[in-house]
């Protein structure tokens, strides 16, 4: 044990490693992980949280805009049906309808619960939780705290979890999950990991694990994601026998910083546009009016006057095109830059300075003001920002049962960004934080329930030989000399993904990317790290790289297979959205004996019931 444990469980050491037993182990301490752990502990399960960083530092902390929930505080006409419809349309109908439904129905209560635990949201004049506009949402719907909503959410959940006395293992990385033998249930039995601080190993025995490890952005060069986003949960799930879906869909957020180079990719919140900011090219033209797709024509303003009226009168005006779903806006920006109408540092201009007062901007967007002032010397109340697309979110993830978050492997659950299905081919802004809460809660509860059922009887046991093998694999990079530098491989992978598997894709480049990923996988077998096991980032990266490579292969494989353009997947050799692809998921697995080669299958999308289908005809 190190200083980074907050817990009461006394470790045992039968295999020579620190060992702990729990009912439910949650991997990841962002919004989904914390919410899952709170739910599991509340349900009576002995619960642990294991996370790679210190508590409260997870990527959720960087979320800015808000939590989408149809509470109707600002527009009483809002309800779950409208939110459901917006979500499905944003995802180009490829979402798992049941997840989208549960999400829309339960988000309001999950938000009110945060308030119950101490969150201080911005208020309306009536004293209710204020809600702000965001792309793709019919009504102002995002509960927020200035532009630091993620920080508020994580702090609230963190404080709740601490008050509940949940055991937390901080700066502790899980590298492998254990299962019982196929003849013995083929179910989760535990996990293996290491303390980053000391490099010592740790074993968890638990019948239920909740993956809440977030996304994969660190496989790209330009990303808003933190170092933790190496696709650990995606890869752990696959290696355990679970499946991934929708991996071809990667969201490039339209507005990341582009200058100075060292901050390239850092997020500029969509709230800038929600609060009135517009996009302009080097000619000063508000170009989004040229990029309104057929699919959204009826709900999008086609002239500046109507677009500007919308902020105050949503009933009689259509939404500004700057607030189209993120995939549309990112592609439009990409086209403007390619056509030579970009800004000096290779982006376009995001202008709120000429449209809102400095007081308004400072009140609504304080962190953005701070971020640009301190990092780029730009005063956003006086001049436009330069922005461009940045890899932000992966829609794809572990294939789960919509109601419970259970994967195909008994005892293994997934929630939040690491789970797939909820967002279809493209996620709407604000739907991530609500997703974390709704499905984090569900996964935690269901994991606790399964753990409870398996109480009296035989608990699955972790096999000592497997533990020793896991330790050996983890130490391998220290055994070799003169091999590859993990930082170099990470750099090369980021280059491949950015160049060949980016916003706009085609068959040749995707095929080439798979070859390059294969070559990197070979090189990664020969990683060497210097130094010793104590807090050694080179070693940590060497272990994370394996996950990044698996996930990158999944993205490229699925992207090559899907011969159409939809949401976060654009093929310039198949530019149209094709209905025959609109009812299909691509499922990825790592079958036994595949030697690490990803396997792909087509699977029909679950069919939406008629009463929900009707919503797309009746709602305006």
């Amino acid at each position: 044990m190190t200083g980074n444990v907050m817990g009461s469980d006394v470790p045992s050491e039968p295999h020579g490693f620190e060992e702990h037993s729990y009912d439910v182990v949650v991997i990841g301490a962002g919004g989904a992980g914390l919410r899952a752990a709170i739910a599991a502990q509340d349900a009576g399960a002995k619960t642990a949280i294991v996370c790679k960083s210190l508590l409260g530092k997870a990527h959720t902390v960087m979320a800015e805009g808000g939590i989408a929930a149809a509470m109707g505080n600002v527009y009483p006409d809002d309800n779950w049906q409208v939110h459901f419809r917006d979500t499905m349309r944003g995802g180009k109908m490829l979402n798992n309808w049941r997840m989208a439904q549960l999400h829309a129905q339960e988000a309001p209560e999950r938000v009110l619960e945060l308030e119950e635990w101490g969150a201080l949201f911005d208020r309306t004049d009536d004293g209710l939780i204020s809600q702000r506009d965001f792309g793709g949402h019919r009504f102002a719907r995002l509960a927020h705290v200035g532009d630091r909503t993620g920080l508020e959410m994580i702090r609230t959940l963190q404080q709740r979890a601490v008050a509940q006395g949940i055991d937390v293992f901080m700066e502790c990385t899980i590298t492998e999950l254990f299962k019982t033998a196929p003849g013995d249930g083929n179910r989760i039995s535990g996990a293996f990991g290491y303390w980053r601080e000391s490099g010592r190993f740790i074993v968890f025995h638990a019948p239920c694990m909740v993956l809440a490890t977030g996304g994969i952005g660190k496989s790209y060069q330009v990303t808003s994601n933190s170092w933790e986003y190496t696709g650990d949960g995606h890869a752990l799930a696959m290696r355990t026998g679970a499946s991934l879906i929708n991996m071809e869909f990667v969201q490039f957020h339209p507005t990341g910083m582009v200058w100075p180079p060292s901050v390239k990719g850092i997020l500029v919140t969509e709230s800038v546009r929600g609060d009135g900011g517009v996009l302009r090219n080097s000619d000063g033209k508000r170009f989004m009016f040229d990029y309104i797709p057929e699919f959204f024509k009826s709900e999008t303003a086609d002239n500046e006057a109507e677009a500007d009226r919308w902020y105050d009168d949503k009933s009689n005006n259509r939404r500004p095109p700057e607030l189209l779903p993120r995939d549309e806006v990112a592609r439009a920006i990409n086209s403007e830059i390619k056509a030579g109408r970009g800004s000096p540092h290779g982006g376009v201009f995001l202008d709120i300075a000429s449209r809102r007062t400095p007081e308004f901007i400072m009140r609504r967007l304080p962190s953005m003001y701070h971020q640009f002032k301190e990092l780029a010397d730009v005063d956003i109340t006086a001049e436009p920002m330069e922005i461009g697309p940045t890899c932000h979110y992966v829609m794809g993830g572990v294939e789960v049962d919509p109601d419970t978050g259970a994967s195909k492997i008994t005892g293994l659950y997934a929630a939040g960004e690491v789970a797939g299905g909820m967002h279809g081919s493209n996620r709407l802004g604000g739907n991530s934080l609500s997703d974390l809460l709704v499905f984090g809660c569900r996964a935690g509860l269901n994991a606790a329930y399964l753990a409870h059922q398996s109480r009296g009887g035989q608990r699955p046991r972790v096999d000592g030989a497997e533990v020793r093998a896991a330790a050996k694999r983890a130490l391998a990079p220290f055994e070799r000399a003169g091999g590859e530098n993990p930082y170099t491989i990470q750099h090369d992978l980021q280059d491949v993904m950015q160049r060949l598997v980016g916003i706009i894709r085609n068959a040749d480049e995707l095929a080439a990317s798979l070859k390059e990923i294969d070559a990197l996988k070979e090189r990664a077998k020969n990683l060497t790290v210097e130094g010793h096991r104590q807090y050694n980032p080179g070693w940590h990266l060497a272990l994370d790289i394996v996950n990044m490579l698996t996930v990158s292969e999944c993205i490229a494989t699925a992207a090559l297979e899907r011969q159409e353009s939809r949401g976060g997947h654009t093929r310039d050799d198949f530019p149209a959205t094709d209905d025959s692809w609109g009812t299909r998921n691509l499922v990825l697995t790592l079958p036994d004996g595949s030697d690490g080669k990803v396997h792909l299958e087509h699977q029909p999308l679950p069919a939406m019931p008629d009463d929900l289908k009707k919503l797309f005809e009746t709602l305006t």
Binding site: L54, K57, G118, V162, E197, P260, P261, V263, H370, G531
Partner: protein
Amino acid sequence: MSYELRMRLWRGDASGGALGDFTVVVEEGEVVLDAIHRIQATQAGDLAVRWNCKAGKCGSCSAEINGRPRLMCMTRLADFEESETITVTPMRAFPVIRDLVTDVSFNYEKAKQVPAFAPTPRDADGKRRMQQVDVERGQEFRKCIECFLCQNTCHVVRDHEDNKAAFAGPRFFLRYAELDMHPLDTNDRRKLSQDAAGLGMCNITKCCTEVCPENIKITDNAIIPMKERVADRKFDPVTWLGSKIMRRSDTAQREEV
């Protein structure tokens, strides 16, 4: 545009260590953390440093830069002369784990001692109502990114290890103040913060406020009002009782914890 930066980084562990010299090529617009990452990727793969967001939002990358407690990701190289050597050492008030990484578990222990938020019941429609003006004070304190730079700087614990047991530190004074000022909380934390959290040991030097990267007015807006309220509570029970009888919300419904 690019130039060779000289850096001195503290390397070592609990048993001791020393400053190591590095020269690294840096580019226009970069921050201290960029330079350290480049050293890590090309010269010292095992150099230990904590970071997450690289955008001043997570509070992971705290260290002392030329002796000043700062976030490495928000300290621009442009703030220094190109010829100047930049020295980075770990936070001094916490035990070193390795290189620039310290053991900040002190703060997580203190967090456990804060009593949980305990709100009044919801309104009849299942919602809660608070006015923006009433939440704004708390919101300022909740901007805290838990970088613990204030904890590292406060002289009560910086060079006095033995004070740590009785002193929660400025970050947690913020937390107590936030709960105390929360329009819906029912606890009375003033006694607790005086006795258990060690508010009385603070002598309002404001060093914590000076280093806060979120520009939270820790001393003026949290510590001093708390001290005043505690003083009320301690020395003037009549005033306090009065407010208890007269006012429905705020102090009136608060239980001492």
